[in-house]
């Protein structure tokens, strides 16, 4: 079982997200460490992209801040991971658009993930049909290639779920990331369809921001992913974000732990 799947053992999982280099790389390192200390089980680091089509306004704005200099080298993000690894063992996942991986080189990117201690990849523009070009490399370097399943995936669910490792990212609603007040009504049903074919844990994300929502989503699945709400804290607090993120993570942690865990 991968380090990421392991992190779901015996409790509901809370996955937090920040964008690398927003507002600078040093703060990103502190943000990730703060989230881990506040109780996040996994931290997703978004590699900024010029055109983040799967993301809503909050993360788009973070990507713009992070790419003040569009020539930001990807090597600098691996250097930040190296620094994070000196301070925490929390499982790390990159949220990255495929073009960035392609330009760095599939072999080189996945090898560097292994070398610096990244545990998995979420690639929003790499659907099941195209994963074959990258999967040999993630397999070789022991990375989880975490798939997304949406409430409209329907008949596609079994094939996607069967190939999943790490966890399955269940998208709570149609459209892009961002904070929302309501979620698709068939989430529980979709979780059931996934559970029918795999033991890989399921975490729900897209739009979750309040502690109550986090608890409700964690209740439906194995965990909850909070992206835009974390990124908004960084937007509002800049270099002072780490302390605020830690507080927020503690609040979500408590909410998620309020959920009783069924014995397997």
């Amino acid at each position: 079982m991968s380090k990421i799947s392991q992190s779901f053992k015996n409790h509901k999982n809370f996955i937090a997200f920040v964008t690398a280099n927003d507002p600078d790389m040093e703060t990103t390192v502190s943000n990730v460490v703060a989230l881990a200390e506040g109780g996040a089980d996994v931290v997703e680091i978004g590699i900024p992209f010029s055109d983040p089509v799967a993301d809503g306004p909050v993360i788009q704005a973070a990507d713009l801040r992070a790419l003040r200099d569009p020539d930001l080298p990807i090597e600098s993000i691996f250097a930040a991971v190296k620094e994070i690894r000196r301070q925490t063992a929390v499982p790390l996942v990159f949220l990255v658009y495929l073009n960035v991986v392609l330009q760095y080189g599939y072999e080189r990117f996945t090898a560097d993930c292994e070398k610096f201690g990244v545990d998995g990849l979420i690639i929003p523009d790499l659907p099941y049909e195209e994963r074959g070009e990258l999967a040999p490399f993630t397999d070789k370097h022991g990375l989880d290639l975490i798939p997304l399943i949406t409430v409209t995936s329907g008949e596609r669910i079994p094939m996607i779920a069967k190939k999943a490792t790490g966890f399955i990212y269940l998208v709570s609603s149609l459209g892009v990331t961002g904070t929302r007040e309501s979620f698709a009504s068939n989430l529980a049903e979709v979780v059931g369809q996934i559970k029918a074919v795999t033991d890989v844990p399921v975490a729900i994300g897209f739009g979750v921001h309040t502690a109550d929502q986090a608890q409700a989503m964690a209740d439906l699945a194995d965990g909850v992913i909070i992206g835009s709400a974390c990124v908004q804290i960084v937007a509002d607090n800049g270099q002072n974000a780490p302390a605020k993120l830690q507080e927020y993570a503690e609040e979500i942690r408590a909410a998620v732990d309020g959920v009783t865990v069924e014995e397997a």
């Binding site: 055109d51 073009n99 960035v100 330009q103």
Partner: protein, 402 residues
């Protein structure tokens, strides 16, 4: 003898280019679209309805016009223009929009969305939405809504709602991002009418098919007029829809040279360019694997051309494949050369052609004199230039007050 065109191996792929690099949210909808399209393609009723609209609404076939004055003035190859500028709405865009809108109806969709740069594709989509009684929303970068107010008003006049996109660099690529996002949020009642032979499968193939009417006609017309095929077929390339439509029926005739003309902006070797095939690298963006103007880290570059319709950082996957196989050749034309051609064709032939099309015309001006008189060039005039008159005047330092 016809040789087999080798790039059509796998659905949605042209060599390694193409594919469906989109969020999972869109996969079911795109697969459904691909299936319905295959059915429609084989359905005589669909084809008959398409042919009827092309003939009786869009004003097809478009003329294949012998440019006698230019031929004499340039003193080389014989020059023919395929007059897509004479179509209803003034450009080739309508061919594709009619096809996709019919497909949308077949799929039971109630709402068409589209991206647009200069506004040509948006106007064409708004036009068909009005005709079919469908809702229409057009995404257009804020930079472009400011520059092209007349086209914004035109779309509104046709009943469409225009969204000024304020994310990213607020131009065409951002409008495509916004349209893809809207499509992902409302796939159940919405059809995204893609404006060029770009994006995820099935768009590149579908748009190619709908634009192929250009070369289907021109091949017949040149046979009728000269009893032979042309030596060169030339068209401008933004995303590549008018060019792929102009090439399609000649691809299997290797004796016909295919030439795509890209916008070099201030020059292919400057940063202010949109010459994707000459300067781009393999990448994945807007749902397709193709060639893109990008930096070393894989961030998509801002691009530049005087022509809003060619101002795109990528190119359709079939062009990337045709270039890789050396079946087609791609050249760059600068702003200055295109503006000169805009004036030249107006004075020589009495045709005000779109600044996009004038990139192709500028290359004809260069090429024709180097060829013997018995050679034949067919160049596509993708659109008419009324929309560009004010901008060209400004480029020449002439103040116009309306």
């Amino acid at each position: 003898m016809e040789t087999e065109y080798k790039t059509k191996k796998q659905a949605g792929r042209f060599l390694e280019y193409g594919g469906q690099y989109v969020p999972e949210t869109l996969m079911n909808e795109l697969n459904k679209m691909a299936d319905v399209y295959q059915e429609a393609k084989a359905d005589p009723d669909f084809q008959a309805e398409l042919a009827d609209l092309l003939a009786n609404y869009a004003n097809r076939p478009s003329l294949l016009y012998y440019a006698k004055n230019m031929t004499e003035d340039l003193g080389g190859a014989q020059i023919y223009f395929k007059r897509e500028d004479l179509n209803h709405t003034g450009a080739h865009k309508i061919n594709n929009v009619i096809g996709q809108a019919l497909l949308a109806k077949r799929m039971g969709k109630k709402r068409l969305i589209a991206e647009t740069g200069a506004g040509q594709h948006g106007v064409a989509t708004a036009t068909i939405a009005a005709l079919f009684g469908l809702e229409c929303e057009v995404f257009m970068g804020k930079e472009d809504t400011d520059r092209q107010r007349l086209n914004v008003y035109r779309m509104e006049l046709l009943g469409a709602k225009v969204h000024a996109v304020t994310s990213g660099s607020m131009v065409l690529k951002d409008a495509i991002n916004a349209a893809l996002q809207d499509f992902a949020a409302r796939p159940e009642d919405t059809f995204y009418v893609m404006g060029s032979a770009t994006g995820p499968h099935p768009y590149p193939e579908m748009v190619r098919d709908f634009q192929s009417v250009i070369s289907q006609e021109s091949k017949q017309q040149i046979q009728d007029q000269l009893g032979r095929l042309p030596d060169k077929v030339i068209a401008c390339v933004g995303g590549g829809s008018n060019a792929i439509g102009s090439f399609a029926h000649y691809i299997d005739h290797p004796e016909v040279d295919l030439i795509g003309v890209e916008a070099a902006g201030k020059g292919v070797d400057t940063d202010l360019t949109a010459a994707t095939i000459e300067k781009g690298r393999l990448g994945v963006f807007h749902g397709m694997k193709s060639l893109f103007l990008q930096n070393d880290s894989g961030q998509i570059n801002p691009v530049y051309s005087i022509s809003a319709g060619l101002d795109y950082p990528g190119v359709g996957p079939e062009h990337a494949a045709l270039a890789a196989e050396h079946r087609a050749q791609y050249v760059g034309i600068t702003d200055d050369e295109a503006v000169d051609a805009f004036e030249y064709i107006a004075k020589q032939e009495g045709i005000i052609a779109a600044i996009e099309s004038c990139h192709a015309v500028a290359y004809v001006q260069k090429l024709a004199p180097t060829l013997p008189k018995d050679q034949v060039i067919v160049c596509t005039l993708s659109g008419r230039g009324d929309k560009d008159v004010a901008a060209i005047a400004k480029y020449r330092g002439v103040e116009i007050h309306e």
